[in-house]
Amino acid sequence: MGIVIAVISGKGGVGKTTTTANIGLGIAQNDKKCVVVDFDIGQRNLDMLLGLENRVVYDMVHVMDDGIGLKQALIKSKISDNLSFLAASQTKDKSVLDSEKISKLIDSLKKDFDFIILDAPAGIESGYEHTIEFADKALVVVNPEVSSIRDSDRAIGILDSKSKRVKEGQEVDKFLIINRINSKMVQNGEMLNSDDILDILSIPLIGKIPEDREIVDASNQGKPIILSQDSQAGQAYKRIALRVCGEKVDFVDVESHKESFLQKVKGIFS
């Protein structure tokens, strides 16, 4: 039976969907069968980041409400055979979600995949509660800034009281991903460092992702950054994906600012 992992955040725009796309692909490249599901009904985006927007015929609402088979709705990634994708509905709104139907959908995905990654709406939006309801684990994405961290604490609070697992007396393991770390600002004391954030939120860390200009380029092309061997952010996602699969991977310090000679020279001329 597969493991259900919800990718959550407090506010929107912190990189949840980018994280889902990259970690999903990372897990698939690690020889595990993985499906990424876009739960952000009405704000479909995961298809773009995976480069699959032209191949969406049926979405999850078709599967839940219109009797379309999962096999028809699931889209296989061109990049990895192990990765499948289920689109969010773009025309409906979040009120179409219903616990019983979601439970059924997730149960059938669990039979076919090792990992089911759910891209949740932001924690303050409706639809969030439905996404976390059946999660076994959660990856909490934050940016090192006050509003993101504060809101994520509330999203964690909702997870800890509304998920099915918690209601049954079990726990949902939560892991923190700190995204968009600007090492130079951290060094200058202008940005919260990871130790501070961990102190405040008190959940274990699963990865730190440096700010990376290549991310925009990657989403422009619909090719997740994890495919880029020389991107720091891509390598950080790769490490997180391996940790999600249960492998022990050493943490890399992405907060100390190191500028190579070449970067320094570039800096002078830019």
Partner: protein, 76 residues
């Protein structure tokens, strides 16, 4: 002694202090997302016997002991 025009800004420290306090207060206020349901159910139960006007629920913490104090206000 620090010279603000030379030294680092160090606003990260300010952020941490402010966040710690804000989140502490958020947690004590929002620690029960099921608060409304709890209130409604208590009203239902008590209403079988006496008329209820309102229910106040508060979380209190003292000496490491956490408690829920529930005050049921009756209709006159």
């Amino acid at each position: 002694m620090t010279f603000p025009w030379f030294g680092k800004k160090n606003s990260a420290k300010t952020a941490k202090d402010r966040l710690t306090i804000a989140i502490m207060s958020d947690r004590s206020n929002n620690s029960f997302p099921f608060l409304d349901e709890l209130k409604a159910e208590i009203i239902e139960v008590v209403k079988k016997y006496i008329d209820v006007k309102e229910v106040h629920i508060q979380k209190e913490a003292e000496d490491g002991i956490e408690a829920l104090s529930i005050n049921v206000e009756l209709k006159k």
